[in-house]
């Protein structure tokens, strides 16, 4: 799989992020092209979630710049909200709105943020739920669904905004093993359809067959970047070799 074009969609330039005295992102430079699928791996606490969260500014940064689709991320307020609506985000813990049905979860963004007509939003939401294989769960509440179904609903909710890119923060690590496949299948389908994706995951199978590039993170730095085949066969850094030997033997 190759990226469709070399046109950059997400550009991080010299990004630093501190939590108090903890330096969580250290001078991060990252460019993700339109249509590219980037998998981020690395040990716990290395800053993978934070990297995801700064891309749509759920976490503010301390220095550096982040550009999305040619524009520098605005500071707080309406312009930032508008930009966020163009970046889909999928969380480890699903974060479906607990007081809304699955269908309402998917229509809420289009209706309230995009001011779409509710009939049109509903129709598209049902089509998206069908696409992720849970059309029959539309009127249930999140708590009534399995983890795998909830995560697929969360993906449908993000897709309903017609995002230009999707961020996934360990979307399968809270799932029972038998449900991991159904979520990865949806993600693989998205990748195949040309969605730009940044995926934090420990699913090495997904990284191998769906990613254009694997990034290895440690201590807030992007230590190594390579095509998946090359990375897994021949990691250059000691830390990546060490990390891979731990995750691949399990």
């Amino acid at each position: 799989m190759t990226a469709q074009s070399g046109e950059p969609l997400i550009v991080l330039d010299g990004v630093d992020k501190w939590f108090g005295s903890l330096h969580v992102l250290r001078d991060v430079h990252l460019t993700v092209d339109r249509g590219e699928v980037v998998v981020v791996i690395g040990p716990s606490g290395s800053g993978k979630s934070t990297l995801c969260r700064v891309i749509n500014r759920l976490e503010p940064i301390d220095s550096g710049t982040i550009r999305f689709d040619g524009r520098t991320l605005p500071a707080e307020g309406r312009p930032l909200a508008r930009l966020r609506s163009e970046v889909g985000m999928v969380f480890q813990s699903f974060n479906l709105f607990a007081h809304k049905t699955v269908l309402q979860n998917v229509t809420l963004g289009p209706v309230k943020v995009r001011r779409e007509r509710s009939a049109a939003a509903r129709e598209r939401a049902l089509a998206l739920l069908d696409r992720v294989g849970i059309a029959d769960q539309a009127d249930k509440y999140p708590a009534q669904l399995s983890g795998g179904q909830q995560q697929r609903a969360a993906i449908a909710r993000a897709l309903a905004m017609r995002p230009k890119a999707m961020l996934f923060d360990e979307p399968t690590s809270a799932l029972d093993p038998e449900m991991v496949g159904e979520v990865l299948d949806v993600m693989t389908g998205l990748a195949r359809d040309g969605m730009t994706m940044v995926v934090v995951t420990h699913e090495m199978g997904f990284a191998r067959h769906a990613a254009n590039r694997v990034i290895f993170m440690a201590d807030g730095q992007l230590v190594e970047q390579a095509e998946p085949a090359q990375f897994f066969a021949n990691p250059r850094s000691e830390r990546a070799r060490d990390f891979l030997s731990k995750v691949l033997t399990h």
Binding site: L58, H99, V113
Partner: protein, 225 residues
């Protein structure tokens, strides 16, 4: 029970409790709306709003209600000329009382809603922001609906306290139940205990079901996670 066989006494008894219900209803609605607004202010990123919310809670939660009601009458009305009705003094005093009750109760509603906001997982707001919702939308569409539904039972306690607190409005000449009771006791010194029992019993009879109703509502409205 000769006191209550007198139709005139029965009428003042009934109208006094009707006034309690009206004071509670009016102040309750205003306090609920304003309390939620205060809570929104207290969690907002705007320092001025946060400061206002905090100041309101600190002042009104820590001042005796009797003083607040007195202030509404002597301060707002007599001194500053805040008037709700020029020709109907009862109506004027009623709304002055509602003002004090609502200002006081809103502080408690605010703090209850704020504790409800703490029960909503941070991921809910993250998801809302990630969809492109503004701060106001996130609060209004995602956080507050879940927060308020988690504090329905404490809202019941606030409402019960409000109904009892409404008797304090008697001090500014509104003929609510406590002042009517005192008047009946003054007029019927031989029936102090029965009169007291009837008034206290009426409060209990009204408020016990209220407590159960809110307990039932809390279960029905609870957000499943």
């Amino acid at each position: 029970m000769h006191v209550f066989s007198d139709p005139a006494n029965r009428a003042v008894y009934l109208s006094s409790f009707l006034l309690i219900l009206k004071l509670t209803g009016a102040a309750g609605v205003i306090a609920l709306v304003f309390g939620v607004v205060l809570a929104a202010m207290r969690v907002s990123p705007v320092p001025v709003l946060r400061g206002f919310g905090t100041a309101w809670v600190n002042v009104f939660r820590n001042t005796p209600l009797t003083l607040i009601i007195f202030f509404c009458y002597f301060g707002l009305f007599v001194n500053l000329g805040v008037t709700y009705s020029d020709d109907d003094i009862d109506l004027n005093n009623f709304w002055l009382g509602v003002t004090g009750l609502a200002a006081y109760t809103a502080a408690f509603v605010c703090e209850t809603v704020r504790s409800g906001i703490n029960t909503v997982p941070a991921g809910q707001a993250d998801a809302a922001r990630a969809l492109g919702m503004t701060f106001g939308q996130t609060l209004r569409l995602v956080v507050l609906p879940q927060a308020t539904r988690s504090v329905v039972a404490p809202f019941g306690s606030i409402l019960i306290a409000l109904a009892k607190n409404a008797t304090i409005v008697g001090t500014i000449g509104v003929l609510e139940s406590a002042s009517v009771m005192r008047q009946l006791i003054n007029d019927n010194g031989d029936a102090v205990i029965p009169i007291f029992l009837v008034f206290a019993g009426t409060f209990v009879a009204l408020l016990v079901p209220t407590g159960y109703l809110f307990g039932w509502l809390a279960k029905r409205l609870a957000v499943r996670r």
